[in-house]
């Protein structure tokens, strides 16, 4: 393997850190910030034990288990139990995303954009760059772990002791490093950085769904997923460190695999084949909409399939929920304030809000591509042909809107199929369609914000993802913590009526649609006048 720690390693480490520290601080700052804020908010919101037990009742059902993991201390739902149950898994997923993006950016993207070549011509071992990247990931995750543990611990909340806080932080850091190592493996296998991201996110999603199904139906499935191990630390309840050991071992395994594969391949090469393309453009390719679709079709199809699978998973969980509900008469009494609707129908709105937010990712990615293409100078070239900015902009926008519609549609179909297949009293397709498509105006507003950034301040393109994450937090925590309406209104998804339980407010939806149109028009006008970047 050669010498891993050398003078060059330390120069390289400082060099990469210099490029990355701003991003690192933003990530760690947001994750630690949200964690601390929620921990602090919990104490204010549920000060009495009775209130916490009330929440515990609403948490203890298959739908919530699928979303958050098993609730291990329902009988004694302390602050700590509640906090780790509601926060640990999703924070761990966020940390995993941070690591996937970072390792891909540092390794495969660097290689693809030819920057690694010149570094590799310097006197460094062939694997030093990979090693340094993982070293930095390790440092980042360690810092995150310590900061999280420290800042929760220092709040000194009852039932959240230092041992638990330490485990909480370490679980996040360890999960993050596991995904860093996994991404490093995919970076060797895949021939491109897009491929690396695709494989990594697919695996993350797969682990999440595997755990969801496992937690609800067969536990051994969850034990196959690292995200299943995360919740099995039972932080603040039993504080089990065994899953951490398992995560550490598997991380090391992935680490060695990535080094081994790295040594076996050429620069710019992968183990998965690159397909040969067609020699001539299909006759449709001349239309910009088709051209843009062609550029991104793999991404689009992958997302649609992913959303379909998400729908199927949620659908099957809803089926479980029903059985659970029927077998428990007491709960039935307790939890159905509105006897008109089944428990399933009450959960439908929450599921749809999650689906809508995840479904907003592909349309925004499509729209952002407009700027990415511009930055590498390709739009400049396209625009010298028989196409103007308006047409280019509208083509991207139309494709994004079409994909937004398809995103909802595919997840609904998934939900419906699972529901029909598994349930004695399946959800009606009309209810499903209505409950899903009420979110479309929120999605188009989000898309409008993306266009606004592209038109006015494209160098902060990534802030749209921050806002989407924020929206997710608001909606996710909002349904758990029963946020006020004004807080929910900070996100376009927050106040969308939960069909069928809530009445549809058409005027509110109309306002959102109007706002979307306004955003598109303003963005387009500015996009037509501003300088092209590149």
């Amino acid at each position: 393997m050669g010498k891993l720690f050398s003078k060059q390693t330390s120069i390289l480490t400082r060099f990469i850190f210099k490029r990355e520290w701003v991003k690192m601080i933003i990530w760690i700052g947001s994750i630690v910030g949200v964690t601390v804020a929620v921990a602090a908010a919990f104490t204010g919101l549920y000060s009495s034990e009775a209130e916490r037990q009330g929440i515990a009742q609403t948490m203890d059902n298959p739908a919530m288990t699928a979303m958050l993991g098993p609730s291990v201390a329902i009988e004694d739902y302390t602050f700590g139990a509640m906090f780790s149950h509601e926060m640990l898994l999703f924070t761990a997923i966020t940390v995993a995303i941070m690591n996937i993006l970072m390792i891909n950016r540092l390794t495969r993207l660097e290689e693809e954009e030819n920057r690694l070549e010149i570094i590799q011509s310097l006197p460094v071992e062939r694997n030093t760059y990979l090693f340094t990247s993982l070293l930095l990931a390790f440092g980042l995750n360690s810092a995150l772990a310590l900061l999280t543990s420290g800042s929760i611990g220092i709040l000194n909340i009852e039932s959240m002791d230092w041992n638990g806080s330490l485990l909480y932080g370490v679980t996040l850091g360890a999960t993050g490093f596991l995904f860093a190592c996994l991404t490093a493996v995919f970076a060797q296998i895949s021939p491109s950085s897009r491929g690396t991201l695709g494989l990594s996110f697919f695996t993350l999603g797969f682990f999440y769904l595997l755990r969801a199904i496992g937690d609800v139906t067969a536990e051994w499935l969850s034990l196959l997923s690292p995200l299943g191990w995360v919740t099995r630390t039972e932080t603040y309840v039993e504080n089990k460190w065994l899953p951490i050991l398992l995560i550490a071992i598997i991380s090391l395994l992935f680490l060695f695999i990535s080094f081994w594969l790295h040594a076996k391949r050429d620069m710019q090469d992968g183990f998965l084949p690159e397909r040969k393309g067609r020699i001539e453009a299909s006759s449709l390719l001349h239309h910009p909409l088709v051209f843009i679709f062609r550029l991104q079709r793999v991404t689009i199809f992958s997302w649609l399939i992913g959303l379909f699978i998400l729908g199927v998973t949620y659908g099957s969980v809803l089926g479980e929920l029903e059985t659970f509900f029927e077998s428990n008469d007491l709960l039935k009494e307790l939890l159905t304030p509105d006897p008109e609707f089944s428990l399933v129908e009450q959960f439908l709105g929450i599921l749809m809000s999650v689906i809508a937010i995840i479904g907003s990712i592909p349309p925004i990615m499509i729209m952002n591509r407009l700027y990415k293409e511009e930055k590498i100078g390709r739009n400049e070239w396209i625009l010298t042909h028989n196409i103007n900015r308006t047409k280019l902009f509208l083509s991207y926008l139309s494709l994004a809107i079409i994909v937004a519609v398809l995103s909802i549609f595919f997840s609904i179909i998934g939900l419906w199929i699972a529901s029909v297949g598994l349930s004695t009293d399946p959800l009606g397709l009309d209810t499903l369609i209505l409950s899903g498509f009420v979110y479309l105006p929120a999605m188009t507003v989000m898309l409008g914000l993306a266009t606004l950034i592209i038109a006015f301040k494209p160098n902060i393109l990534n802030s749209i993802w921050m806002y989407l994450s924020f929206s997710f937090i608001v909606v996710y925590l909002g349904s758990l913590l029963q946020f006020d309406d004004w807080l929910l209104a900070l996100s376009p998804y927050g106040n969308i009526p939960k069909v069928p339980v809530e009445e549809i407010s058409y005027s509110y939806l109309a306002i959102l649609v109007g706002l979307s149109l306004l955003l598109y028009v303003v963005s387009l006008l500015q996009y037509q006048r501003r300088d092209l970047k590149g």
Binding site: G2, Q8, K18, N114, E117, I118, S121, L122, P123, R126
Partner: protein, 299 residues
């Protein structure tokens, strides 16, 4: 002593053969030109030499060391400038140059300031704001400021303006004066012609010509312009004469380099008014090999 020894190097990408038994040597103190049409395999060869990709078969050595197994020892003594340069958006040119020099253990470099001045380079801008040529300067300045024994350039001047190209050429001359070795892959034939002692022409992964320029010229034909007071009728039948054309009372043709003697003897009988001869330029040599059928100069 040979600085670079390349023996029967082949490289396959899947089924595609990018290099087929490529061999050449670069001697110490030599400036070696490496030319060939697009996709010929130049960059692939250089990447093998730099230990970035592994040859399918054959042996490649730099300073007598295996390019794959002893890459680090080799890299301590070489400087490389790629043709397709991408830098780190949020760092300045100055930071990147220092980084390269530090990695090579050549920091602080006494030559850096002079080189920046010579290339008229502003190191304070962020890399994302540099133009193509200025990005290339970053890599060139880092390379010329380092204290390497072998310099490898892959189309280093494709983005430089003519003035800067001249600066580049001067800098290479200076390396040569200091006894350094240089491997230069380039599409600018005049640059290769004026800088290089030896040239290797590669095409479709095979070396088709290699040697000093004068050697190569010997093997080929010079262009001759001739006008005589006595009329010549059968010029195209003369020994060693090819491709005869007539332009305003002037004959233009090619002549085999080893047939000059008999030609001069014979032509002197025709009362020569003017005779001009040009040795083939590298471009002529190149064009000859560039074309599939081995050259239409054969006529």
């Amino acid at each position: 002593m040979s600085v670079i020894e390349l023996a029967d190097i082949s490289k396959k990408f899947g089924k595609f053969t990018a290099l087929d038994a490529v061999s050449f040597n670069v001697e110490e103190g030599e400036v070696f030109g490496f030319i060939g049409p697009n996709g010929a395999g130049k960059t692939t060869t250089l990447r093998i030499l730099l230990g970035m990709i592994q040859a399918t078969s054959g042996e490649a050595k730099i300073f007598g060391k295996d390019v794959w197994d002893e890459a680090i020892a080799i890299h301590k003594r070489i400087a490389y400038v790629p043709g397709d340069i991408n830098l780190w958006d949020n760092l300045t040119g100055g930071e990147v140059i220092d980084f390269f020099l530090k990695m090579q253990g050549a920091y602080p470099s006494t030559k850096k300031e002079a080189m920046m001045k010579r290339f008229d380079f502003d190191p304070s801008k962020k890399c994302k704001n540099y133009s193509k040529g200025n990005k290339q300067k970053v890599a060139l300045i880092a390379a010329f400021s380092s204290d390497a024994d072998l310099y490898i350039f892959d189309e280093p001047t494709s983005g430089l303006d003519p003035l800067m190209e001249k600066v580049f050429q001067e800098s290479v001359h200076e390396l040569k004066r200091n006894g350094k070795s240089v491997l230069l892959s380039s599409h600018i034939l005049s640059e290769v012609e004026s800088l290089c002692d030896k040239v290797c022409i590669i095409r479709e992964g095979r070396v088709i010509e290699s040697g000093t320029l004068s050697d190569m010229r010997h093997l080929t034909r010079s262009t001759v312009r001739l006008s005589t007071r006595k009329e010549i009728n059968d010029l195209s039948e003369w020994i060693g004469v090819h491709d005869v054309k007539k332009e305003n009372d002037e004959w233009i043709f090619l002549i085999d380099s080893d047939k000059w003697n008999s030609f001069i003897t014979r032509v002197s009988g025709f009362d020569v008014e003017k005779i001009e001869s040009h040795p083939p330029t590298l471009e002529d040599l190149f064009m000859r090999h560039y074309q599939d059928d081995g050259g239409d100069l054969d006529g």
